[in-house]
Amino acid sequence: MRRLLNARPRGGGRLLLGLLPIAILILLYLVASQARHAENPRDKILPTPAAMAESMEIMALQKDPRTGEIPLAADTKASLTRLGIAVGAAAATTLVLGLSIGLLPYARAGLGPLVATISVIPPIAVLPILFIVFGLGETAKIVLIFVGITPFMVRDLASHVAAIPEEQIVKAQTLGASTWLVALQVALPQAMPRLIDSVRFSLGPAWVFLISAEAIASDVGLGYRIFLVRRYLAMDIILPYVAWISLLAVIIDLALLTWSRTAFRWAHAPGGRR
């Protein structure tokens, strides 16, 4: 008998094994929902799939007579815009700061402690400050996400750039590269796959900050909607919205991974762990 350590699932079996826990959870939900509805046909806590489909038809296909927009589409657009601007700005800032701190001893001495200090501040704690400074509009929400994820990303990228072997940096200089060319041609391309990874990991916290900000002050957005309908115990809307947010997160993650694999082929071992 082989040790359990060495037994590996293969091919279809592996896929099936991965789907099994998900199927069990869905089944458990259906059974529980059925049981509650048997007791009370108007139960709101565990809505049936039919009820969820009915509510989502209103949210996803019909225009809100007040705003003239489809709620799900408007919420998705607003949330993704906020997320996109914030994460884009965070990535751009990270590239500039991470490369500088990773490559230049003067930048490391000057900015390292500041970034380290900022990164220990809990972002939600500064949300009131952001609302006071930037008002309750879009800016405060975008800044919250930016403040929440940038320091971590900068530190991660800076340490990755600083870990480029010194041999490479010296070699580049013996081939005539200036500081600028070392940054542009040696460090930047090697930083990109790591930055994409870092964005992928930061998207989790970014969603948390987005939904928190939308829950507190907003009039449109995925987070705003689920906190709004919470007042009516509308689980038939909340659950599909959560599923939709998860689906968006998975799609964004896969898109980033695919980009990294195609544009930075050298960084991904064929069939390797990354």
């Binding site: 081939l175 542009l184 050298w266």
Partner: protein, 257 residues
Amino acid sequence: MTPVLSFRNVWVEYGDHVVLEKVSLDVAPGAFVSIVGPSGAGKSTFLRLALGQEAPSRGEILLDGAPIPAEPGPDRGVVFQRYSVFPHMTVLQNVMFGARCDQAPLTGLLMGADRRQAKAEAVAILEQVGLSAALKAFPRALSGGMQQRLAIAQALITKPRILLLDEPFGALDPGVRLDMHELITGLWREHGLTILMVTHDIKEAFKLGTRVIAVDKRRHDPHAPKRYGSTAVYDFPLDDKQKTAIPREIAALGARD
């Protein structure tokens, strides 16, 4: 003839720790100088000094009679034991990097005729080192020996005044190492290179070099091991006959390693 590289009474000290003391050395044009010595004797410090990665505490280092710049530059090429090539560039891009830095200091990108010429030169040198079949491969797809061939081709493209080799074949299998010895000797003759090689392999040092310099401490105080630094304790100019026999005092140095 002005030596390509000279060390004039060079000392390297970190506080009380003396690494090198009183090192004076001239490298003549066209010489292949091997530096050998036990681990920790400061062999690599020679290369760091020549590269400008480190400055001597006392004394001076001259390149073609002028003080060397205090940082690495295209006049001194280098091949390290590892990590000498850029993992994100193909073989061809790695070799063209020197031309790109030289001719496109702003973007690092070449266009049109410049690009074609740089590419032709790179392809020619890659052919000499035996990599013409792998132009589009990334370094991770190459064996250790092939990566070192690439690193050498990359260093030669800028036509450095002196080529510095830091244990260049130390991580290779014995068979591959022999191939590399042939390659570097051929390139040295063909391009009229001046080479300074640091190695811990004494046989290799004698086989390849036209001159072997052994680095070790002349004096040793067991109560203060850092008090005295290393210097060039033996300096053998070699002709072809001598290349077969390794002097006994040098062999003893290797046995201590």
